[in-house]
Symmetry: C2
Subunit: 100 residues, 2 copies
DNA sequence: CACCTATATACACTTGCGCTTATATACGCC
DNA sequence: GGCGTATATAAGCGCAAGTGTATATAGGTG
C-alpha cells in the first residue's frame, strides 16, 4: 500500500484531518468515526502508520497518534506539473470575465 | 469511483502523465503500457473519463484523449492545509543545518 | 459489400480491501 | 493476583477492482 492508496480512503482522510488539528488517542479517533467499529479504525491507523503518514507514542495504556505528513509531499510533487493546466484554465476564465 | 481512487492506480497516473505532454490516441496509450492488454487500458481510460480527468474527441475511427485536469484541484485543495506541516519540518531541518 | 483496423464492452476469474465478531495483549487499579 | 479499560490482531466474509479472453461496434478501404 502506498501513500496514494492510503489517502484514497475517505475514513483515512478523515483521520488525517483530525490529526492535523492536534494529536489524539486511538480512542478519540475511534469515537470520531461512529459508523466504524474499533478494530476497523485500528486497521486504518495501521495503514497510515505503515505508509508513514502518522506516528504513535505510547502513553500508558493509551496510544497517542500524531500527524507525520511528510509522505504527502509525494502527492504534492506528483500533482505539481498539472497545476499549471488548471491555472491556465483559470486564466482563460478570468480573461473571459474581464472581456465582458 | 472518485478522483482520489482514480489517481491511486499507478497505470492511470502513467496515462495522465503522457496526456500532460500532449493529446494521444487510445492506441498510443495502449502501446505505452505493454504489460497491459488493450481492453485493460480502455477500462482505465473509461475510469479517467468518468471522474472527469480526461476527455475524448472522436477522429474517424480513432479516439483522441486529452487531459482535463481540473478534477485534480480537488486533491490540491485537500492537501493544502497539510503543506504547512512539512514546510515547518523543512524549516526545522534548515534551522538545524544552519546551526551547525 | 467484404474485409481490416481501432476501440469499447461482456463475461468470468482472482485478488485484495474494508468490514465485523471474537480474541489477544498490555497497562492501570483495587 | 484479579478485574476493567485501551488497543491491537486473527479469522472469516462480501464485494469491488483489475485483468484477460472473447466479442461487439464503428469507421476505413478495396
Amino acid at each position: 500500500m502506498d501513500v496514494f492508496e492510503a489517502v484514497a480512503e475517505p475514513n483515512r482522510r478523515h483521520l488525517l484531518g483530525l490529526l492535523a488539528e492536534r494529536d489524539r488517542t486511538a480512542g478519540e479517533l475511534v469515537d470520531s468515526l461512529p459508523t466504524l467499529t474499533q478494530p476497523a479504525v485500528s486497521r486504518h491507523l495501521r495503514v497510515l502508520r505503515e505508509v508513514g503518514l502518522v506516528e504513535v507514542h505510547p502513553d500508558g495504556q493509551r496510544r497517542i497518534y500524531a500527524l507525520k505528513p511528510d509522505g504527502l509531499q509525494q502527492i504534492d510533487t506528483w500533482i505539481t506539473p498539472y497545476r499549471r493546466y488548471w491555472r491556465n484554465h483559470l486564466d482563460a476564465l478570468e480573461q473571459h470575465l474581464e472581456d465582458r
